[in-house]
Symmetry: D2
Subunit: 501 residues, 4 copies
């Protein structure tokens, strides 16, 4: 949700210098909502956000509603670190509420940028949680400020709140629709008012949003895995451009943001990378999709080897698929530590040069003297792969072959995925052979774009109306990029308050 | 600055149950500002706020400006607890800034309500610190919300920010003047923009504001004692209804809020109670004023006794005046602890019944067998006086006479002084004789209203154009009380977000 | 290391009520040491402890030595949460040091019980880190107190420190050997003096200890995986009953605790459960051993099924072994969350009844309509297995067969493994058929004791001189249990100081 | 109680660089104890320590006893910051207990050095709180270590615990007496066992200790002001060399440390400086004593002036005495801030050069054009006086005369008063005229030694058997200074553990 500007990128990069094995790609949010629950909403929301924790680990927030009053609590860190226990959850009163989990807290906002965002409107309060990123945020923000609006965050998500407050729409859902029509980019929203839980998905359907039921309560979530954790029933995906209004009275109303239906293009990275393996997206198991990616990859780029191993845990399903298609034994060439979460030991230069790794350890017992195929879901900067291959060789592997279950990533994202800048995307400036050389593999192959669409059952790609948002592989962005047109003027270059922390 | 509603009063009362010897009256803020300093502004502001610490102990904030960027830091607690040391202060960059120290953090806002408040306006950022309380805050707030403004605090001070943002004034000072003209009540403001430090005092001049120089820099503060601490030179009081604009270029411009000059009525409580003894108000030493109050009190209500003692530290100057006028020896019948600050031991009921006191101890060596005159600056609830007199008697005093260096307080304040509700004001419902009986003194006398004006050199009181805001003694409020007209509707009764802490 | 008394068990159980999916077995410590390093020891120790984090997650401590001064730092929580960054590590000066990571902080000690423990002796300071548990701690402690010793922890490990202080031995290693000879039970020690790093392993060799080199430095660790992380070379296991003295001058001396060599019986649970898969124990890869357990299990208890899945991550190697031996496809029927570490959302009763799980999620895409074999490394209470099987069935599995890669656990441990009491050990009071019924599996099989020894290459079991400490399966404890003889008198029943936290 | 070594002095000096106006002298402890109370002891102890807060502000601890178990809690900071509220106090169970408040936490110990100290002895637990300082601590400590004792603090007070543990005395009081007989120096102890509260005062009676009753409970405290706060009745001083044993059964037994009675010499600094004005010492009011010091000072060193003012608060009683004897008006030339406690704003060099003060402000209204006599209780380094005189002059005083109500301090203390080293004692190396010149006063006079003894009613001084411990003025130390004989060997030079904080 935060505008991807030079300033923020610098901030992020500064933070990224810490981890030795940086996370490659990060999506920036999960949203959740519930109304009409037979009991307190807050514990359910906390569990739902916990299930969506992989979508954002830096901060989480919950807002609930009870008898004329909204209650809110936000926290930096993991959901479960704060949102557990009677003491915290009992203060979030009411049987309706929304929640948000977020990746990035960089930028100038700190806790203020943590969602849900809230405003007192003329007709009562409104709280909004947003997954995605807008591409005309800067322009809109400047327009509103010139008319007297005061922004309190540096998040593009606040535009939804400000536009809703200014709307002359009669009902809350009218106001929310007015706001959504004014913006451009990617958004899946959960919105809480006194009377309803509202879900909104952008017309292109870039970010996912699913609808379910828990008893009589309606629930909304970024992914179906949140429903499994709370024992809710999956009903259906919210459609691209759809607004679902779940009334406090149990009613369900569907409205549309646009008259004509656009070509929906959900983000292909949700399938390849972000979504949990046990989620279902568009009726398909993510785990099975990834196994198919591994199978097609094995067909496209076979290799003579003794064992197939994932880079755990991201590569597990595609490695299983690769092993099954190739007939080579599946083994764990790498052991993943459970304790390498958000904090890292920062060793001095000398130790770093030892090639120390903390997230993965080579499993010498299984790789010594073997020809090893390593399978991962994607390759971004290549630094992690380089270190892992070195580790595997040090442990005695005879050959190391790297297989990536998606095409080369050549273009940055602007819709809420925290990709590095183009210069840092290894595939943007290197051939596959150059990359192989740099990371030190005996062979390196990517899944082809054709293979990708084939594995997803949507191939071959229709270049006029592609089935997915796939600009990271193709450069074919699904919306205008208004803010990016003028990179010289950024939100951060306005005189904005910097909190001295 | 917080609207004195039932909700807040309840909140405050809840907190007040803790201290055994509650603070009687509390003013709710000190403000400070500097521009053009030859060095960093933040350490100077921190020292200035420290000197104003008696005006508010619950929270403090500083906002500075440097090369297109505003920097802000806010903290619950005393100024010196947070705003010291290179690490904190060096982040507040720039040679211009404002600060605020505040009494109350109750209510629904927490740290969000701590000032300075900030907004990005069309023409750049603006930060505002406010001492005082508005009396039409509720009404204005509802009007602005209905037009699309989003409020982020529960503080009445935010109205200045919102009104400034909406103003069509060409310059920042035009905008600030537009905002000040729309409100009603008491306010002394320090305002920081990219180009200037602006000071504003309400047309009645209820709250004080003084102007000084530190080298080439202009400084503003609630009281002159802040200038002494930083070594600044006192120039003059900002006039009631005056707007002083201290430019970054060293210029000083004076404008007025109203065409005609109103009858200025500075708050008499600043002289009697709030201001530091070493401050000068309207050219007079507060210490000397209070000594005169004690002198006139000794003349009006003499008593045969062996010693005169203050209730320290508030009663010290008037007790010295009383002793000098009466010729009775000045002694310390009570020893004040230096360690009874903001945290208190909360003993169980049994201990409480022992009549335990922690702020003052009786000095048995000096009171045993003596007739004691105790002098204090004011009497609010009477609970502290009752306990102290009991203590003095237990220590062996033969007689205890209480002399109060101001008239009985019969009416609550709405301009930023945290008086208790009318029911809790002892003098609102009791005669002097009833009060004497309840607190257990051998005699009790208050300074008369006439004596008060006489000691202040402004007597007798001109009932049409009184020289001071003195409603606490007279009920004569200097402004309309719009919000109080309709006590049924309060800000807090709007559906407002409650942070779950 | 903490004496397993009723008191502590109660404390632990109280804490255990929180997690819904309790950890089944926990070992209580990892130890590490280094001397003669070409650089600061602290960052290396921190990395080594991080690699041993699976052996204890509740607290960690490091003690180093530099020019006549010992430096120590201890912290509750994970190693990486505290021991990273220049600021913390630079205070732990010197190129020699030891570290400890610990499971339990329950009991009366808090941070005081965290190791390494330290004492100033006549001949200089000594610091000790202990993995294991003593079985005559209570008796010894009472004897020493009656002679004037003052204990500062409730940990049995303090006996090593006290006995060392009282020893009349001439050298530090003499003193340490004196102390070790007086105790009974399990211990692997790393000891730091001014001149040497000393490693000690109990005569039965219950707990592991390995020796390595990092450049010219000698290193000691509980497991070889710590050497991999820091890039050290594995030299050999420290022998049961051996004392290795690594001098500051690079020398290495070996001494023995006992004249005659006892029958060494390393703890079989290290192989089955505790050690990391990438560690080598007695020259064998733990991962390969566990795969063999799975293979023999598949031979002993075959089943007709569609997929084999581990309960991740503990069951992964044996499930791979089972899948390879049986020819059934290996799949992930369960997805493990990375965010279910030490803090858990504590839902209310209603939510708990929903059967909510947070560590594992069923992978519906892969289990629907399938006959599933679940493989795990052990079964303790059975509660987790029951919930998981329920989850798999809810996700649509046709049959669920559970296979456990070790025999039924029927006896508690007293050597440092945090087993539940006998009543909570499911296999201590139920037949296999009863257990199958309770946990709701279609079939349940354990690896046989014969199969276990066979897979370990030491079979069949020599009942007179068994190759392993295997009392958890057999009740055959390798040492006397002096303290346990008199369960009525416990350390905690002495009048011991209780810190009021 | 911490040994005054070079190391610690360096540490303290380092910390002293922070405050601009350093505290001149600091005593290092208050002790308290109660047994047989009709209710919980902990809240009473907390109040008692709060009343003794002036004797030590850096840390506080409480240990109680209830049904076979001791309970302890210690905290850095003021008593009231931690020891209040049900949550904290209810964990300290029982109707008997002791407490300690302490000045210094410098040195190597941190929280470990905070008292009471505790040990499990053969016959049950014992807790000890110590006010004073031993002068043979180093020697004894080395002896005990060589016999196998393990020390856990760097405090000399731990010797009492270690010696008690090693004593072969039959009863607890026998053991405590054994321990006290082995040490040399100053000590007032409160000791808690299962059966009794024991009070011990060293044979010279350097540090004070008083006995009282609260209902049926016996209470012990460093000063009688603690009794006033809790409503207890003062019984008598504990005699020098006396051991009072207050039994759980209400009994009171008195024993003696030495057969022959020594010449008692209570510390004269308690009267002049440390004790609270409302305390009674040896039957005399401290406030009245100090007024007499001021009176004699006025007689010895009169001056023509317009006003007499204390340096508040320390100089208040002697200034009142001076004013009464001289007939000059008593005024407040300085206003003391209530908010300058333990944390200070640390301004940069430039601000420091402005001569900024934060504890005291000049009261310009009262000093302008006046001849001012400033009275203080003592003069140590002279830095504070210099700054204050400068401030008073800047505020317009015509003349400034400084009068000190005790003789020049020429020798350091070794009995628990935190005096600076000899080099920093201004009077140790300067004549009065030199001092006057440095601090910039128009005149400077000290009370003479004769005047001092006269004001105390014990004059003239008996040089063979002086009535007080007065070495700070005379160099006449009342005990051997064994440790000081060999300043080259200090406790800190042994290899002692340094906690890395």
């Amino acid at each position: 949700m935060q505008h991807v500007s030079n300033f923020l990128r610098r901030e992020r990069n500064r933070q990224r210098t810490q981890p030795l094995l940086p996370r490659a790609l990060n999506e920036e949010c999960g949203v959740f909502g519930i109304i009409g629950h037979d009991g307190d909403a807050a514990p359910i929301i906390a569990l739902g956000l916990h299930a969506l924790q992989h979508r954002g680990q830096e901060a989480a927030g919950i807002t609930t509603y009870h008898e004329g009053q909204f209650y809110s609590d936000k926290h930096l860190g993991l959901v479960a670190e704060h949102f557990h226990g009677e003491e915290v959850l009992s203060k979030l009163k009411g049987n309706a509420g929304i929640g948000h989990t977020r990746y990035s807290t960089t930028g100038t906002g700190g806790l203020r940028n943590v969602q849900p965002l809230y405003a007192d409107l003329d007709r009562g309060g409104i709280a909004i949680a947003h997954n995605g990123n807008l591409t005309n945020a800067r322009t809109l923000r400047q327009q509103l400020i010139s008319k007297g609006s005061i922004f309190h965050t540096t998040s593009d998500s606040e535009l939804f709140v400000q536009l809703t407050a200014l709307s002359r729409g009669l009902t809350m859902s009218d106001k929310v629709i007015d706001a959504a029509r004014a913006v451009e980019g990617a958004y899946a929203l959960t919105v809480l008012t006194r009377d309803a839980l509202i879900g909104v998905r952008d017309p292109v359907g870039i970010r996912p949003l699913v609808l379910g039921k828990l008893g009589d309560a309606h629930v909304l979530a970024s992914e179906s895995c949140a429903f499994d954790l709370i024992g809710a029933e999956f009903i259906r995906d919210v459609e691209p451009g759809e607004v679902v209004i779940c009334g406090r009275d149990g009613s369900l109303t569907s409205r549309r943001l646009t008259a004509e239906v656009k070509n929906p293009r959900p983000c292909i990275f949700e399938l390849i990378y972000f979504a949990r393996p046990n989620s279902f997206v568009d009726g398909e198991s993510v785990y099975e999709i990834r196994k198919r990616l591994g199978r097609v990859l094995a067909e496209e780029s076979p290799v003579e080897a003794d064992i197939v191993s994932p880079i755990p845990d991201s590569g597990v399903p595609s490695a299983i698929g690769f092993a099954q298609a190739s007939g080579i034994d599946y083994e764990m060439a790498l052991i993943r530590s459970h304790y390498s979460g958000r904090t890292f030991i920062q060793p001095d230069q000398k130790i770093r040069e030892m090639g120390v790794a903390r997230k993965h350890s080579a499993n010498m017992g299984v790789v010594k003297g073997k020809r090893v195929v390593l399978v991962d879901d994607s390759l971004v900067r290549g630094t992690t792969s380089k270190k892992i291959i070195e580790m595997i060789r040090d442990a005695g592997a005879k050959e190391v072959h790297l297989r990536i279950a998606c095409p080369p990533i050549t273009h940055p994202d602007f819709y809420g995925i925290d990709t590095p800048s183009k210069e840092e995307l290894m595939a943007a400036s290197h051939t596959v052979e150059e990359m192989r050389d740099i990371i030190g593999a005996d062979s390196l192959s990517f899944l082809s774009l054709e293979g990708l669409y084939k594995a997803l059952g949507k191939g071959p790609r229709d270049n006029l109306r592609p089935a997915f948002t796939d600009h990271c592989f193709t450069g074919d962005y699904p919306t205008p990029l208004s803010d990016m047109a003028n990179t010289a003027e950024k939100i951060e270059q306005l005189s904005f308050l910097r909190e001295a922390r």
